[in-house]
């Protein structure tokens, strides 16, 4: 077994870290509660970081997922928030794997160059939640394309994206033999749309630019369809493993941020005549968080390795996301406790990162559903929901 990190990891970490140093805590605090980090995203785009997974023939760097995950990990470890732009890295995967040559040639180079942003992924609906097969947003066939009606929710970054990957129903549910059929994926160009497309921001407990999206007789050309009509559910699913592995890496980055800050503070803060880190009540939670992080990180690398080998990675991708998000939440709490009252003060950035990392226990898939997946599909227990 070889535990060496992927090629070029060190160079990537150094370069990403140097870029992030230009966007310190003050920058992120200044954006709260709801400004988008446009300057940060522009800097990442300029240096090619968000095009890491786009193949070289389409203008990207064609990195393996394992190497690309280092980029997002390092962004989070520096104290920045990769959630503002991580989807620009992987949303194009649906287009890459299932789009036509013409679609790929038309869009991928411009996405790689940052001229087009594709970082909105419209799947979840108010009435369907995690039960994707129950979505009702309808794309009805017309003479020269489709007309879309319906509503999506928790579509992050839709206001900061030119394109959207949209999952919509093309066959009514009552006409289906298989409940996962009848859904199709479209590449929706959101530019220059009128009342047919309404994007409403949702205020949340952290700065995440998430939205509700309403479609009212929105017209799509036939070329907007990705792959085969009715096969959309499968297309969406196979993009989710990459997303989960990358988000696991972000959580590992968050863990490192919390532990670095908490360890430094615990060593330097003196109360009752000694550093607070000398107290087991402070030290042990940090040690446990470090162990949780280390274990989660191993599963993250294994999941990435499986994915890059083209092997089934569903179980490991889900487990990595679960373990890493639980570890980052543990580290967040330990860091908050270590800092005492100062952890709640905005200028320490602990409370901001605490809110940011909490998201990953809930999204992009709820950790309860990961447990249900492992129970049913890995252990062979009866379906629990």
């Amino acid at each position: 077994m070889d535990f060496t990190e992927p090629q070029d990891s060190r160079a990537i970490r150094d370069a990403v870290r140097a870029l992030c140093e230009r966007f310190p805590g003050e920058y992120w605090r200044g954006l709260e509660p709801d400004r988008y980090p446009s300057e940060f995203v522009a800097a990442l785009t300029d240096q090619g970081w968000l095009a890491a997974l786009i193949p070289e023939e389409h203008g990207g760097s064609g990195l393996p997922l394992a190497t690309a995950s280092v980029i997002l990990e390092e962004i989070c470890a520096s104290g920045a928030n990769a959630g503002a732009c991580h989807a620009q890295m992987y949303t194009m995967g649906t287009l890459l794997r299932h789009g036509s040559e013409a679609q790929k040639r038309s869009y991928l180079p411009r996405i790689a160059a940052g001229e087009l942003r594709l970082q909105a992924f419209a799947v979840t609906e108010p009435g369907a939640g995690s039960d994707t097969t129950q979505i009702t947003t309808r794309a009805e066939r017309t003479a020269d394309g489709y007309v879309v009606n319906g509503q999506k929710i928790w579509t992050s970054r839709a206001e900061h994206s030119d394109l959207m990957v949209l999952l919509a129903r093309t066959t009514p549910i009552e006409q289906l033999e298989k409940r996962t059929g009848g859904l199709s994926v479209f590449l929706l160009d959101m530019r220059d749309r009128g009342a047919e497309l309404t994007i409403s921001p949702i205020k949340t407990m952290m700065n995440h630019a998430t939205t509700e999206v309403f479609f009212e007789d929105l017209e799509l050309p036939a070329e907007a369809l990705i792959g085969e009509e009715g096969e959309g559910f499968g297309y969406i699913l196979d993009g989710m493993n990459a997303e989960r592995i990358l988000i696991a890496a972000e959580c590992i980055g968050d863990c490192r941020f919390f532990l670095d800050r908490a360890v430094a503070y615990a060593n330097e803060r003196v109360v009752f005549g000694r550093p607070i880190g000398a107290n087991q009540g402070v030290q042990f939670p940090l040690a446990r968080a470090h162990m949780a992080m280390s274990a989660a990180d191993l599963v993250r690398w294994k999941a990435a390795w499986l994915y890059d080998q083209g092997l089934p990675a569903g179980a490991e991708a889900n487990m990595a996301k679960y373990l890493a998000s639980e570890a980052s939440w543990e580290a967040a709490n330990a860091a908050l406790d270590t800092h005492g009252g100062f952890g709640f003060a905005q200028e320490y950035d602990i409370e901001r990162k605490f809110r940011e990392t909490r998201l990953y226990k809930t999204a992009p898939v709820n950790n309860n559903l990961v447990q249900a997946y492992v129970g049913q599909h890995v252990l062979g227990l009866p379906r629990s929901y």
Partner: protein, 264 residues
């Protein structure tokens, strides 16, 4: 023109290190990173190459004398924009960190490469002799200017500046070939982007043994001006005292101490 840029991976020491009985450092306590000065000398070389009049081909070659720890640093230089990398290593060089010895190796590389300009960092942060560059100029009998803070191309030569004590600036003109040692702050070193990091792997890079340079181990070891006998650890925390009490009392005590130090 070819510009040769000698670089070094320097060791920094972990907070918790111990020396063994022979005064040797446990290598596990060492972290390797690029010498701070080298980013500035490489950036200066890249800027000269970029600003050159069209038609004149520039090649920026980085060189290091190091075991495999040096590879990472060379790749970072290639990612920054250097065209080619050379690493010189021979197991017999292990433990040799003397400026004269390293300069002897670099001189052999320079004779083989025949650069029009050599840009060294002023010093390395780990051994801090500030001598390798000037020793190399001496061995090659090249004109040299140390601690350079500005460079401009001037016809076939260069105009360079160096800062003197008290804020005076010395301006010198020199003809090529020449050697400069470059001070930090002369420019803003660029950062590699993702494409460049990938591209670095396809750039030419070679490892040379001493025999490839017609050098003998004794040629190198004998010129060494100094040899490390042992390392000693200075006692930690000596002279430090904790000031405790309410903020006003602490501030008052600091004023007292600073005033006393200033008078002394």
């Amino acid at each position: 023109m070819k510009i040769l840029v000698p670089v070094k991976q320097v060791a920094s020491i972990d907070g918790d290190f111990t020396l063994d009985g022979a005064g040797e450092l446990d290598p596990r306590a060492l972290h390797w990173q690029a010498n701070e000065w080298d980013a500035f000398s490489l950036e200066a070389a890249l800027q000269l190459a970029e600003s050159s009049s069209a038609g004149e081909g520039f090649e920026v070659v980085v060189v290091t004398v190091a075991d495999e720890h040096g590879e990472e640093g060379l790749r970072a230089c290639l990612a920054m924009g250097a065209d080619r990398a050379l690493r010189v290593w021979d197991p017999a060089l292990a433990g040799v960190d003397d400026p004269l010895a390293i300069a002897a190796v670099l001189a052999a590389v320079a004779r083989r490469e025949d650069p029009g300009l050599i840009l060294c960092g002023v010093q390395s942060s780990d051994s801090a002799n500030a001598a390798t560059g000037v020793a190399l100029a001496g061995l090659l009998e090249l004109p040299r200017v140390a601690v350079v803070t500005a460079i401009e191309q001037d016809g076939g030569g260069l105009t360079v500046q160096r800062e003197l004590d008290g804020g005076a600036v010395e301006v010198l003109r020199l003809s090529l070939p020449a050697l400069l040692t470059i001070q930090t702050g002369i420019n803003e070193p660029r950062r590699a982007n993702l494409r460049a990091i990938k591209l670095a792997r396809s750039k030419p890079s070679a490892t040379l043994a001493l025999s490839d340079l017609d050098l003998d181990v004794s040629d190198v070891r004998e010129v060494a001006g100094a040899r490390t006998v042992r390392l000693l650890e200075r006692g930690r925390g000596e002279g430090a005292s904790m000031i405790e009490g309410p903020a006003e009392a602490i501030a008052g005590r600091i004023v007292e101490l600073v005033t006393r130090e200033l008078r002394a």
